[in-house]
Structures are given as C-alpha cells and as structure tokens.
Symmetry: C2
Subunit: 363 residues, 2 copies
C-alpha cells in the first residue's frame, strides 16, 4: 500500500480504476455496429468518443472532489462552477471534442436554497464562459451520507459533459506526436480541482484547524487562495483547432500533474519530453510545498505547479498557437520539446532548479 | 416547510430544483444555432434532447440515492448496477431516446477493491441487459465527506446516460395524448430507487436499528426485499417504438409515483386519467405502508406501488404493445384510460380499494 501522506491509497486507487475500466471495456460490444459504438480507442484518452451515424460524440464525467470543503470553509460557493466545468470540458477538448452540453449532480445532506443558488449561478456563468449549455441536473438529498466541514450545507458535486468532433476533423490523439515537436504550456490560476487532500493536510498541520482564515498574503487568506477558480481552456483550444493549425496532442493537467498527463499521451509511441521552461508555480502553491516539506519531484505529480494544459505541436505551429492564445487572453509559452528518449524531464521551477526525471507513469 | 415524515423537505426540494432549472435554462442560449442546441423543449420531459447536425442526442443524469445503504446493510452490492442504469436509461426511453452509453461516478470514503468490483460487475451485467456500453467512469476518494451504515466502504453512485432518437422518428412527448387513449402499466419488481428515506424510517421504527436482518417472509429478509433490483424497461420500450406502433406518451414512475409522473405528461394538454387496473403493490411494499400507517393516497406518491412504467397509446395500439411486452418477458396490462377531466384518478390496490384523486402535481 502506497500512501501519498494525505491518507489516499494510490495503489488501491489505480488498481480499482483499472479494474472498473476493464469491466466497462467489456461492455463496448453492446453497441458494436449500432449507434453509440465506441468510435476509436485513443492512445492516452481523456474521454470516450462514440459514433452516431456520421456524428462523433465525446463524453466524460468528473467532479470537484474535496475542493468543495474550501467553499464550506470560506462560505464562498460562487466560483465552483468554473472548477466543475473545467474538469470535464478540458478533458473533452484534450481529445479534440468541442464541449457542448453538461449535466450536473449535486449530492447534499440538507438543502440550503441560498447556497444551491450560489452554486447554480456560478455554473451558469462558467457555462457562458465556456459556451456550453447546462442540459440536465439532479439534486439529491442524501442526509447523513454526505458530510463535510462546519455546519452549513455539505455537498459533493460532479458533472458529465458531451461534445462533438467538428465535421471533417479527427479526434486528437498522440499518434501524430514526433521527436522535435514543441510543447506549449498554458498557465493555470491555482490548484484547479486536484491535490486538495494533500494541500489541506499540510495547511492544517501548519496552521491548525482554522487554517483557511490565516493570511497567506496581506489581503488574501489561505482559504481564498486555495479557492482560486479554475481557468477553463476549452474556448481557446477550440479556436486553435478551428484554425487548421496542426496539433499533435493535448494534455489536460489533472491528477498526476505534468509528468503523468503528458506521459500518458507520449508513452504509446515510446516518446519522451524535455520541459525546461514551464511556468513558475503560484506563490501559495510553492509555500504549501515548503510547509509540507514536499520534494519538487513529488510536488509536480501532486499539483499542476502553474501549468494547466499542454499542447504538443510541430515546431512551425507554435507561433500561431501562441498568437491565438494571446488574442483569447490566455498566457502560454513554449516550455520544451518532444524527445525520442522515453520519460518526462522537467527543469524544476519550484523550490530547487533540479532536473527531475519521470520514467514511469503513475497512471 | 412540508416534511414528508422521513425528514426530507419536499417544498425546499421542489423550489431548489425549479431554481436550478431556471439557471440551466438561461444557459441554453450558449448553443443556439450551434451543435448541441436544445432540439425541443418537450412537455413533461424526462431528459433533454440536443441537435448535432441531423442527429438528436438525449442526455440525463441520476443516482441510486439512499438505496446504497441497503447494499451496505446486506453486504450485497451485485445488483445496484441495475438500479443505476434503470434510473437513467428509462428516463431517456420515456422521451423516445434509445439509450446507448453511460458514464458513472462512484464517490467513496475509502476504497474496498472487492466491493468496487461487485458494483462494476453488476453495472456490466445491467449494461448487457439494457444494450448500453459503459463509456466513462470516475472513482473519487472523498474520505469523511462520504458516510453511511456500518463499517464497510461507504459510497454514493450516480450516472449519466446518452442515447439517440432513431432516424426518421420524433422524440416522444405527451403532445399527441388525447381523451380515450389507453394507459398500459408495466409491472415493477420492487422499490426501484425511490422512496427509500421513508421506507427505512418506517422499518427502523418497527424493527429497530437492524431491521434489515429481520425476516419479511420465511426465506427473505427485509434487507433483501428492499434490495430487489430494478427492472430496466428500455429494451422492451425500444422494441415497441421500433415497431411503428403509435404511442402518445410514456411516464417513468420515479419520485412522485404514478400520479405525479403520469400527471406531468398529461397536464400540458389539461388531460387526466382514470386508472382502475394498476398492478397490486408488492407484499413487502404494502407491509411497509401498513407498518408506517401511510395512507393509500400518500403511498402512491411515495412509491411506485407495483407499476414502474406507463405507456399512453391510442386504444387500437394496446394489443400490439402487450404482445411485444409478453415476447420480451415483461408483465404489462391495460390499467386505465385518458380523460378530458384533469387529474389522475386511481382505484387503490393498496390497503383500501378507495378511489384516489390527484389534482395537483407535486412536480
């Protein structure tokens, strides 16, 4: 049993996910030759893509995990909708699927109308930002099955997004990646929805039970810093894909960080990458790492460390990609290149400036 | 505040759902004129239907609610997959959408590999039964945010299903229903996934904390009786819709029971129904009602009372519908007819044989 120090059993998580996926995969035959047939099994997929006649529909599900607790602690529920849509919309666009519709399920212990409204208004705003519509929702009152911090309404929140592969285009997989491709990093705003179990453990160890009220900087509490809403990349990536720029692969940086999520799209062609120009981790992220005595190597797997999305593309595409990113208001930069040697090499921008080498994907 | 005696605040539930839907509806404009546009707003819809080119895709989300506790109590997790797929696949087919793919999200406190495998194997079996494929899944370890009965793994389980309206067909709404149409009832097997908060409250009041171990009959414990897996109707209804038989409307009997779910598809044309031949409630359902001193009128809103699905159809369609149901191995019978007088009239098959009249939908 490999604990990641936050109490989450990583080995068990991986083996359960693998087992669940093997049962799911056996069920693919049920749609073989019918609408809803799995269109292609993509190397390092972030979603599944199904064929309905000529239409390719992608689908993925995820939740905001224990980031919900940060809203309970700060009393601010208005921005979690951005986190929820980011998790699913950015998984779709990573495979070239343009997000269109989402449904959400809100599990609560008891209902608080004002809190539910704050969540739903935030979801609406994030839907506007990402050009999706919310076409389904369920609020389940589950009483004591749901718990959390403090005495206000406790909740868990998850969503499913669907989208489409534009006519005449193909899904994005890593099958076109090749040595010499550049890797372009998109800056994140904060923790997004990953690595909260560890961050919370470190901060409560450092500041005690009410760590969220402690100041991180003059005007920002730790609670507010951790709540920083996710930037949703899908509107910008959609524009890039619409512009006929060649893209070899896209990695959404979720659990496992840059090494595992870039690794998962490169490993099938036994390629690697050298990343010497990633963004700096956010100050509050680096401070959390310091407080927890977390090594740089581990930190890059636990958290996004400043980079929320990576695009792999032929070198001559990078200028156009960066131009569109800038027009859309996103901060992006070339951060490295694809190598023929497997493994992801990162020049740390965290506490040290060590060269970190990741040869085995945690996924 | 109207409590339903199980501690669930019905008024608050309805007002939160309404509010959430009003925010969701505002977001529909984000896909206006683009793929993923809401294709039509159906009267009394059980799902949403979106247009991707010529393809109509339906989507819906739901969970098994507190039925999860019955698996925790009995230690049998093998059949909940049927309950999970029933909730979403039967909501799709109620609007003429053939279910094709589902994703599921399993929230757990800590992982138990054997229990997760039992759930996923059951989901696979239910997917085979209902001819869908499981094309996505997420297992979230949420620690103390998830709770339940006993000391084994606690969990909440929800799913999203998508499907398609077959080429050349239209979604099913109630807009074709008319006076004189027959109503055909499909027999249920048990509680499906609705009304468990009240059933559990009654049974723990009657038998104490370990009510699930008490015998309901010689060989069946109360736990086993309540766990009875849902019958999934979508394979049979799909066959009926494929056979070009005219169908005026379909009601999936979930929360709100027969009166609210039939009511929601009839109210837009200000029609009503007289149901004098519904199925008998299951013995364990009737016994639960007796133990809780629940009136027949209330019981028909809390539970399905023996009927899991209703089809409204022109009288001359009923013979063919019943024939296909029989061939598919489902038990169905004509249970009443559509009237020009609004309201749903039910001749009770529960404790009394009273005539019950429902004039106001709870939805």
């Amino acid at each position: 049993m490999t604990l990641n120090n936050s109490g989450i059993d990583l080995d068990s998580g991986h083996s359960c996910s693998k087992m669940a996926f093997s049962w799911a995969k056996k069920s693919f035959k049920n749609r073989s030759g019918f609408p809803g047939e799995v269109a292609l099994e993509i190397d390092g997929a972030f979603c599944n893509i199904m064929k309905f006649g000529e239409t390719l529909i992608g689908m993925t599900s995820d939740g905001i995990g224990t980031k919900a607790e940060i809203a309970e602690r700060t009393g601010d529920h208005s921005t979690l909708g951005y986190d929820l849509i980011a998790m699913v919309a950015d998984d779709l666009i990573a495979n070239g699927v343009v997000p269109a519709n989402i449904t959400n399920i809100l599990d609560v212990d008891v209902l608080d109308h004002a809190i539910v409204e704050s969540l739903m208004k935030g979801l609406y705003e994030a839907a506007n930002f990402s050009k999706v519509s919310v076409t389904g929702g369920e609020i389940a009152e589950l009483g004591a099955r749901i718990s959390g911090w403090g005495s206000s309404m406790h909740f868990n929140w998850c969503a499913t997004a669907i989208g489409y592969v534009p006519k005449g285009r193909k899904p994005i997989s890593a099958s076109n990646a090749k040595e010499g491709d550049v890797v372009i990093a998109f800056k994140s705003r904060g923790f997004r929805s990953n690595g909260f179990s560890m961050a919370r453990k470190i901060l409560s160890g450092a500041f005690g039970e009410n760590w969220h009220s402690e100041n991180f900087s003059k005007n920002v509490t730790w609670g507010k810093a951790l709540l920083t809403p996710s930037l949703i990349y899908s509107p910008c990536i959609t524009k890039i894909l619409e512009s006929d720029i060649r893209v070899s692969g896209i990695a959404h940086i979720t659990g496992g960080g840059v090494p595992d999520n870039l690794g998962r799209i490169l490993k099938y062609k036994a390629l690697g990458a050298e990343l010497d120009n990633l963004f700096e981790p956010h100050d509050f992220m680096k401070k959390t790492q310091e407080l927890g005595n977390v090594s740089d190597e581990k930190a890059y797997r636990l958290w996004n460390m400043g980079t929320g999305m990576l695009i792999v593309a032929p070198a001559d595409s990078s200028g156009e990609i960066l131009k569109i990113a800038e027009i859309c208001g996103y901060i992006a930069q070339v951060c490295g290149r694809v190598t023929s040697v497997p493994g992801v090499r990162i020049k740390s921008k965290a506490i040290s400036s060590d060269d970190l080498l990741y040869t085995r994907s945690g996924k």
